[in-house]
């Protein structure tokens, strides 16, 4: 899987993702904020979730930064990926937020490492990062 790219907007990293209800039919690209403090997969505003056809079957509570739990949030199972990649499965929460979010579970499921270098948002495949680590370790030993 090649490296993928996002963009910065006023210092915040964004990426184009696609979502699928069934793992086959893909949505149009959606621009999502990357929030590394968000531990789940994806959070979608209600309108987008409805347009895509997500059907929630689960609820959960999120823990806010102030240490308080949220009201129950509906959650659906779905598939998503960075535009151009292979779809992976995850939980998609349906929120009152105005912007779609991707979290750490999304990066893990996509097997991507996030780097922000010289104003560019880069998603490197995990195997490339592991190869770099091994190369660096070998260079340190010799």
């Amino acid at each position: 899987m090649p490296a993928r790219y996002g963009h910065l907007d006023r210092g915040h990293p964004y990426v184009k993702i696609v979502i699928s209800v069934d793992g086959v039919t893909r949505s149009a690209p959606i621009v999502a904020l990357i929030d590394t403090g968000f531990s789940d997969f994806i959070s979608l505003p209600l309108i987008q979730a409805t347009q895509i056809g997500l059907k929630p079957h689960t609820t959960t509570r999120y823990m806010l930064a102030n240490g308080k739990p949220t009201e129950p949030i509906p959650v659906a199972t779905g598939f998503a990926c960075i535009e151009g990649d292979t779809l992976v499965r995850g939980l998609i929460s349906i929120s009152e937020l105005s912007s779609p979010l991707v979290g750490v579970a999304f990066l893990q499921a996509c097997r991507k490492g996030l780097m922000i270098v010289a104003g560019t948002v880069i998603f490197l495949p995990e195997d490339e990062i592991e190869a770099l680590q091994k190369k660096q370790q070998a260079a340190t030993k010799s």
């Binding site: 968000f38 959960t60 823990m63 979290g103």
Partner: protein
């Protein structure tokens, strides 16, 4: 929510039922034995499905009951998912 012929509960009803089942049947045992893992509570069968990840707990619970409704809990925590800065401040 799933439709079929069953009445569709609200998010609040699912969560409150799931939390009541968890507290009554599972909290004491799981908080001692499986802290930090995720549990999906089926609000009809009252079955608990435990896994290391939120996605796996829900997926395995749905494999057992594809038309079920579930409440996801992180064992020993008030919230299952860390919301992060944006979600905490944009609400």
């Amino acid at each position: 929510m799933n439709t079929d012929s069953k009445p569709v509960p609200s998010s609040r009803q699912i969560a409150e039922r799931g939390e009541a089942i968890y507290k009554e049947k599972y909290a004491k045992k799981l908080e001692a034995a499986e802290p930090g893992k995720f549990v999906a509570i089926n609000i009809t069968s009252e079955e608990a499905t435990i896994s290391e990840t939120a996605e796996a707990a829900v997926r395995l619970a749905m494999e057992k009951d594809p038309s079920g409704f579930f409440h996801l809990i992180r064992i020993g925590k008030e919230g299952a998912i860390e919301a992060g800065w944006y979600m905490s401040h944009a609400r």
